[in-house]
Symmetry: C2
Subunit: 294 residues, 2 copies
Amino acid sequence: MFEQLAVIGCGLMGGSFAAALKDSAHVAGGVKRVTGYSRTRGGASAAHRAQALGLIDQAFDTPAAAVNGADLVLIAVPVGATQAVLADLLPALSPKALVMDVGSTKRDVVAAARAALGARVGQFVPAHPIAGKETGGIEQAEAALYQGRSIILTPLPENDAALVARAQSSWEAVGCRVVHMSPEAHDQTFAAVSHLPHLLAFAYMQGLMGQGADTLQQHLAVAGPGFRDFSRIAGSTSAIWRDIFSANRDEVLAQLAMFEGALAQFKHALAEARDEDLARLVDEASAVRSSWPR
Amino acid sequence: MFEQLAVIGCGLMGGSFAAALKDSAHVAGGVKRVTGYSRTRGGASAAHRAQALGLIDQAFDTPAAAVNGADLVLIAVPVGATQAVLADLLPALSPKALVMDVGSTKRDVVAAARAALGARVGQFVPAHPIAGKETGGIEQAEAALYQGRSIILTPLPENDAALVARAQSSWEAVGCRVVHMSPEAHDQTFAAVSHLPHLLAFAYMQGLMGQGADTLQQHLAVAGPGFRDFSRIAGSTSAIWRDIFSANRDEVLAQLAMFEGALAQFKHALAEARDEDLARLVDEASAVRSSWPR
């Protein structure tokens, strides 16, 4: 049980974590009080909107003010901003607080945490919950977002086991199944199962757009459920994906090269009317996809 | 209103059409009685299983027997089998019957109908409902499959307007919104919004599989909702896709070439660390995807 959760970055991910843990002081991994901070770009910050929505108890205007008194801190900002917010909040961070993130890449986040926290990096347990929506923002936050999802923890050599156990309990409290991986294995795996699919979905949309506005509209007017699901993740924006692609560039390029090799097999079988080969490729792929999840 | 619907090919598409129209004699476009035929490959044919499930009234062992007395015939077989079943049923086909298909390609189906029906091709109104599931079979059939979906009709010069209106009424009776296109525009559009996404999803799975069984399992174990939706259509099999890719080869290759051009832009921006360009490509794609459906 935690006394105070501070959410740094009150968007979909941070707001949903707050929503799920708020008023959960009675469960293991639960919290009594939630504070929050969000960058302001004119108007009320998302943290103030989160407070108005009842997702957090109190909004603050600096990371340091939000983490003051917190024993659990969740960094939920685009991965490229991790180092700066950690440096900002460090002076106010309790030596006993557990700090986690929700970033989609881990090697860069670990490097950012080491750079910002120095000798206190042992307080930071890198985390990546496998949940989300194609549209972000505090207004999309919901307590159920993490229910039944996986959370990847990539603990550091500096983390003590009790702190990792506390991290695990907080994610279990929001309904997650906890998986441990190394930062390197994480980044390779998520290049394969998330980053590459996003890149392909964005490129697919650009391929349609390149055919001109009239043809695009003709296509979109009759697109069905296959299009809907295949391209759903192309609704995400560079606010998240710029940093992910940049941070995981090498692994994404490696996955892309393997995809291009596979696509060439389909293309040549199709172009050369080798329908038996094409059918075999289709059925092999189908068998693997149909077996997931077991 | 129709007296008798004959479903040739009692799978997901044909069975769902039967389920939606059965006992619908009271509505415009409804039917009083449903007969069916399916190819037998040992054991009870899918038509007999459809009868046992209550989806059709009576199963027959030849296409001709099933269409005897029918004033509405739905051909719901893989597109490559269209010509053979039309030729089989022609001797028993009432000159007043309306014949439709559900195929995902239209130029080849129109050619098959002309070859099989000759001077009677005016009885055939090509149709493609934009509905489906990644797994087929009569056991997946459900009355709600077509509810709220689009149906593309690609009428022939030989069709008279009253027959096309009857075709339209039957699809409206199962809950579809009717769209008219030429067979050529249909095949181009569906290469773009359905056939290419399937090819990419199959190739994506093959790219993962090429990394070896252990790595594949490591990836699949933590794949989340993005993977789930992006790759869902890769669960389809060559039973459907072999014929579609074969029939629409040129349009699929043309769409693939445009995708490859778009993908190259992403690849080069990523490889050259042109993050601003990559962000722009992402946000342009995201804006179009987010505007669909209006």
